[in-house]
């Protein structure tokens, strides 16, 4: 039996024995449920496939990371609670002090510490290097003042990883530092923002004279920008096939709905469904190409650059279409008793507007593809990237 087969078998055995069932209702219960699953994974040595072993992870080669994600995707498992652990973790692994590693890495994998990201600001969205939240040095502390926004699930977070200005405003990305801040420290206020769906998924965070020990800085002062996007190898790509599988399921469910409602008798609807079907196949092939390229050359290749844009446009168009498919039932909101499938399609239609905004707008992504992949010249009106 090969190492890969053996590894797959061990994962299957673990999942068979320990995978939790359905998630409970209620926000607090769901958070506890997700944390319990993270702890189970960690305690059995199945957390952090890409993380090194001395950080509490599994230290898997890329091919086995792919297997890991494949096997995990066979179950409906709770996601890691909070957001950004997969961003802050690698940054601490590569640039953290021994004390920071000791204090945070294992606790993060086990979800004993839940993180939220503090990057964007009201005046610094796509132009993140223009951020204005300041950290003033006072002895062995920084004093932080300012406001962050669009912080996903920050109200659940124990810790925040935050980009702050330690240099001048003019220094832009060369005057930014990376701080780890206790979400419950005096002067930190987290306020949920009601979004387009009517739900509260984002927060804004206010810092008012928040004292942060200098030992909580990751990397050197004013070096925060460079390290903020640290990743471990190609760990993000290891799960690419699962994202395609996720969309496959959604499209299959939409096709089933269309059948149930007799909508497939309509030529136009049938053709559009077929078109989405093809696009999911393309996504799957994109993911497979990215993975094959990493295995063969160590580089993810062109598909990894276009996948996010392709997928985000796809999920918007899919949900716009799904609402039309509902006919007059598309008029109903999530809580109407007659709403179809508990409003998932109208909910998804609204929620996916964020797909082309968050974590880099579609416009910024197009700039990135154009400049960094196609090599088109920089816009002279734009400040330098680095």
């Amino acid at each position: 039996m090969s190492d890969d087969t053996e590894f797959r078998e061990s994962l299957r055995a673990f999942l068979k024995e320990h995978a939790p069932g359905r998630a409970p209702k209620g926000a607090a219960e769901r958070l506890a449920f997700a944390k319990a699953w993270a702890a189970t994974k960690y305690d059995h040595g199945f957390a952090g496939p890409a993380w090194p072993r001395d950080a509490g992870g599994m230290g898997l080669p890329f091919e086995q990371q792919v297997i890991y994600h494949e096997e995990m995707a066979r179950y409906r498992l709770p996601a890691m609670p909070g957001t950004g652990w997969e961003m802050v973790g690698p940054t601490i692994i590569k640039y953290g002090t021994p004390e920071q590693k000791e204090k945070y890495l294992r606790a993060t994998l086990r979800a004993d510490i839940v993180w939220a990201q503090g990057f964007s600001e009201p005046e610094a969205g796509s132009d993140l290097p223009g951020l204005r939240t300041t950290a003033r040095r006072e002895g062995d502390h920084y004093v932080v003042n300012g406001q962050k926004v669009w912080n996903t699930n920050a109200e659940k977070a124990d810790m925040l990883f935050v980009l702050v200005r330690t240099g001048t405003q003019e220094a832009r990305q060369k005057g930014i530092s990376y701080l780890l801040i206790d979400a419950h420290a005096p002067g930190v206020t987290v306020r949920p923002i009601r979004d387009i769906t009517g739900g509260e998924h984002f927060c804004e965070i206010f810092f008012d004279e928040v004292r942060v020990p200098v030992s909580q800085r990751v990397g050197e002062e004013n070096e925060g920008w460079r390290i903020a996007r640290t990743t471990l190898g190609h760990e993000r790509s290891a799960g690419a096939l699962n994202q395609a599988a996720f969309y496959r399921r959604i499209v299959d469910e939409l096709i089933a709905l269309a059948r149930e409602r007799g909508a497939v008798a309509d030529t136009g609807i049938r053709r559009r469904l077929a078109d989405f079907d093809v696009r999911v196949r393309v996504m799957n092939a994109h993911a497979a190409r990215t993975i094959a390229s990493i295995v063969a050359t160590g580089e993810p290749g062109p598909t990894s650059s276009v996948s996010r844009l392709y997928n985000s446009v796809f999920e918007q168009e899919l949900h716009e279409f799904a609402v039309e498919l509902l006919g007059p039932f598309g008029l109903l909101g999530r809580d109407d008793p007659d709403t179809v499938q508990r409003g998932r399609w109208t909910g998804g239609w609204l929620a996916t507007r964020a797909s082309t905004i968050g974590a880099g707008t579609a416009e910024i992504q197009r700039n990135t593809i154009a400049e960094q992949v196609l090599g088109l010249p920089r816009d002279p009106a734009m400040p330098p990237r680095s």
Binding site: I255, R259, V264, A265, D266, T267, R270, R271, R272, L273, A274, D275, D277, V278, R279, R281, V282, N284, A285, H286, A288, R289, A292, S293, A296, P302, T303, S305, V306, L309, Y310, E363, Q365, R366, N367, I369, A370, E371, V373, L374, G375, L376, P377, R378, D379, P380
Partner: protein
Amino acid sequence: MEIGFTPEQEELRAVLRAFLDEHADRRSLIATEDRHAPELWRRMATEIGVQGLAVPEEYGGAGFGAAEMCVAFEELGRSLAGGPMLATAGLVVPALLACEGEDARAEFLPGIADGSTVATLAFVEAEGTWETGAVHTRAKRTGDGHIIDGTKYFVLDGAIADLVLVTARTDDGTALFAVSGDAAGLSRRAHEAVDLTRGMARLDFASVPARLLSSDPSVVETALDRARIALAAEQAGGAQWCLDTAVAYAKTRHQFGRPIGSFQAVKHRCADMMVAVEAARSATYLAALTAHGAPQDLAVAATSAQVCCSRAYTEVAAGAIQVHGGIGFTWEHDAHLFYKRAKTDELLFGTADWHRERLARLTGMGTAETTEGAVNV
């Protein structure tokens, strides 16, 4: 087998690209009467062996699979100088390989592989449908053979093909026949095609002697699906040329004192073109992989690739003209050759909508009457 290509397959790509860059000239190809450059054709056979890539070794070919075909047709699509390659290697080789029995293969494949035979498949009639069952051409049994009567349109390289495979109706259903290009009773008239790089002809059969190859209707269906993957590869390769050319131009063309590629409006169009190109490549590579590893899913794979690539190529070819501005609208610039190729490729083996319907049918999505009766052969 994994998606993507081995180092040997990439080597084939590099060799073929270098060869085509040096020897294939799309402008001289379109100056020929029949979109056929015999000298280039001969060299493609003898120096690279393109015609015989998928021909088994026992018949003088290389015995390669779908991946090598994919690489070759991507490069041919990029050059627009394949001439009769789509008809010969894309359609006829898989048709002969799908026929039961050795005779036809042994007779025709060696000539294809060594470059002495140009071959094509005639299957579309006046109705202009790609349904392989919609055949009015008749085959009558005569002594030890058949004679064929009818008319086929849009026959790729039909005016010059030495070997014409033709679908015709017999008393037992649709069958596939072989006819010699110079057979008595066969008259051929070259179409004036929009795509200046593809030869196309109308063939009239008046009691033309023909040889029965197969009575199995799935032979043509299989050949067409394999040709659809070859076409998808051509489309992906052509789209890549359009993107590369547009990007190169956007880097050097200056307006308002700066390269036009530094403007976001142009950047974003180029980025979207790249998204389309990569989708076309992914769909094509997936189809090639399926053709090789899961032939039972060939139809779904080929049809999906056509849905994706038809749209992608036209979008990217139109984008290339737009990025070039006025120069892209001239006869002198090659952009229009690709644009015409892109749009007409959409119509060649089934439009995107036709393929969407087919996919709905193949995947069991459609249940309405409208999808009944459209089932092939």
